[in-house]
């Protein structure tokens, strides 16, 4: 009797999780299935789950109907430069806020937290005006420059990581005559590698998935990023679902592969603000 009462909730948990999991996976399965369907199997009832024959050519068409690889190249340029910028700038500030005492440090920290509350809609318009006066609209720079100066959330994350490091290490290095920059680059920076990886990952993701930034600043199709290109593709060919799905798979796949390689950093970055912050 007792065993049954104990087992019952667990079995129920499995049932609910499997059903809910299936619902969450369904869109992926349907996306892949549709991406491999010949045109004739798209609009049929009952729907075809496993396409026959498999229409691999949808993928070929998806990357040739629109300049997919140009979009990919543009996205990689923007994402990797923005990531490099964030990875260089945010540990600098995080280190300064965590490990050096100076007047105004607390104030800068509070301001850094406060600016996270500003909706991007407020700064969006003046920033566009600045960039258009600098004649940079239509280039990648408005999408890259801001992260090179620092990103508030990442600075916060870096600060918390630097704070956890023991004091003895830098004291020892200082006695050995190491300069402040030497301490930072040779001793402290290597110790916060996991945090740097998290910052890199999230900045890369944000740039890869960014839609509104490219929408505002890129007006020439040769400069489009993947998100903008995909939107363009959708607008131009909104009923050829198999090719649209093939293009979607190609945009989604790199990110999901990335996730499986660096799962831990992902989870760390997400839980940081909510639980450990």
């Amino acid at each position: 009797m007792n065993v049954i009462r104990k087992k019952y909730p667990i079995i129920l948990t499995y049932i609910v999780l499997i059903v809910a999991g299936a619902v969450f996976l369904l869109p992926f399965i349907w996306m892949v299935s549709t991406s491999l369907k010949p045109d004739t199997q798209l609009f049929v009832s009952p729907p075809v789950w496993i396409p026959n024959p498999i229409a691999w050519e949808n993928y070929y068409r998806a990357v040739t109907v629109v300049p997919f690889f140009t979009y990919m190249k543009n996205t990689l340029i923007v994402a990797s430069l923005a990531t490099a910028g964030a990875v260089i700038s945010t540990p600098l500030t995080g280190y300064s806020l965590a490990r050096i005492k100076w007047k105004g440090r607390e104030l800068l920290f509070i301001i850094t937290l406060a600016v996270m509350m500003i909706p991007s809609q407020v700064t969006m318009v003046p920033l566009f005006i600045i960039f258009s006066k600098l004649d940079l609209v239509g280039t990648f720079l408005p999408l890259i420059l801001p992260s090179c100066f620092g990103v508030p959330f990442f600075i916060f994350l870096m600060r918390q990581f630097f704070k956890q490091l023991p004091r003895d290490l830098e004291d020892a290095a200082r006695i050995d005559g190491c300069s402040e920059f030497g301490i930072y680059f040779k001793i402290m920076l290597p110790l916060v590698q996991p945090a740097i990886l998290t910052v890199a990952l999230f900045q890369f993701m944000n740039s890869w998935n960014d839609f509104i930034g490219p929408l505002i600043y890129l007006n020439d199709e040769a400069k489009y990023t993947l998100q903008l290109g995909l939107q363009q593709f959708k607008q131009a060919y909104n009923t050829i679902w198999n090719q649209l799905m093939a293009a979607s798979v190609l945009v989604v796949l790199p990110i999901i592969l990335l996730y499986f390689f660096v799962q831990k950093s992902f989870i760390q970055g997400i839980t940081f603000g909510g639980v450990k912050g």
Partner: protein, 313 residues
């Protein structure tokens, strides 16, 4: 830890020595923080202040700035689409946020049970959040296609005539709310981490007192989870009030059918970058900012009544 002598003798000297180093190091503090201080001025402070200024002006980037006083704000109150945007956005936030809180906690509670393949299930709920929004829009537009979509087909097999989803102004917002739940994985992960932080002592105490199952969840787990719930709720509301990318990608910025998917931020974007009404858009942005700040403040005020923090926090 320290004997009386160390406290009296060695410690103060070390502290004194450190102070000397600290004051010499202070200038490095400024040097290291300099890029971010520049960034704060360029990308936050200046835009924030000039946005107030633009909101009292007429400006289309090409012709000179023209002072119009409160005209942008007056014009807004007579703009029917401004009110449509507010109505749609509030509708969205009012349903999407509570649904995602309940669904997120439920999934996290299930994942926190002593089950096998926990990391597999966690991954299943998480990966949809990795899908770029434009791809999400494409996938769901196809799934929710009224005639040939998979969802309506599945509904038909159990005898339900599916609605026209995104094609009908009455169903378009519920469709969007449904799609948003697909990306709930982020908050599930945060709730789960919060649940795993709750000490097992509470569990044991509850078992000794004879509480089990749902009663334990309601009286012990959920109160202890309130700080995390509060965090997710604040983030959820802030994001919902700014909802933009998914409805924009779905409708190419039109907000159709019948403006039912025209959200506040979309109207703002259209004014700024379609009609080049920079002042008007700035006024809209400031109204949004003030509304978000007020709601956040009210939530923080209410938090002392329902958010439970451990004694030391």
């Amino acid at each position: 830890m320290f004997s009386a002598r160390t406290i009296a003798g060695i410690r103060p000297r070390m502290v004194w020595k450190r102070r000397g180093i600290e004051s010499r190091r202070a200038k490095y503090g400024y040097i290291f923080a300099l890029p971010w201080m520049t960034g704060l001025l360029l990308f936050y402070a200046y835009p924030l202040l000039s946005s107030i200024y633009y909101s009292f002006n007429k400006y289309n980037v090409i012709s000179p700035v023209e002072w119009v006083g409160l005209n942008n704000y007056k014009e807004l109150f007579n703009d029917p689409l401004f009110w449509t945007g507010i109505k749609n956005t509030l509708y969205y936030a009012l349903f999407a946020v509570p649904i995602s809180v309940v669904l997120g906690i439920s999934l996290a509670l299930l994942l926190n049970m002593p089950i096998r393949w926990r990391s597999f299930f966690r991954t299943v709920f998480f990966i949809p959040t990795l899908v770029p929004v434009v791809a999400t829009a494409i996938i769901w537009q196809w799934l929710l296609n009224p005639q040939f979509g998979l969802i309506n087909h599945l509904l038909e097999t159990i005898g339900i005539g599916g609605p026209p989803w995104l094609g009908d102004p009455k169903w378009s917002k519920p469709s969007l709310i449904l799609m948003a739940q697909w990306g709930i994985g982020n908050s599930v992960i945060i709730y789960l981490a919060g649940l795993q932080d709750i000490s097992k002592d509470y569990d044991d105490a509850a078992r000794v007192d004879g509480a089990s199952g749902l009663r334990k969840v309601w009286h012990i787990t959920l109160p202890l989870l309130t700080p995390v719930i509060f965090f997710n709720m604040i983030m959820g509301i802030i994001n919902a009030l700014q909802v933009f990318t998914l409805p924009y990608a779905l409708t190419y910025g039109t907000g159709n059918p019948a403006n039912s998917l025209l959200f506040y931020s979309m109207h703002l974007y259209n004014n700024a970058f379609l009609y080049m009404k920079m002042g008007y858009a700035s006024a809209m942005a400031w109204i949004l900012f003030i509304v978000i700040m007020t709601i956040t403040l009210l939530l923080f005020r209410s938090s002392s009544r329902w958010v439970y923090y451990h004694g030391d926090q």
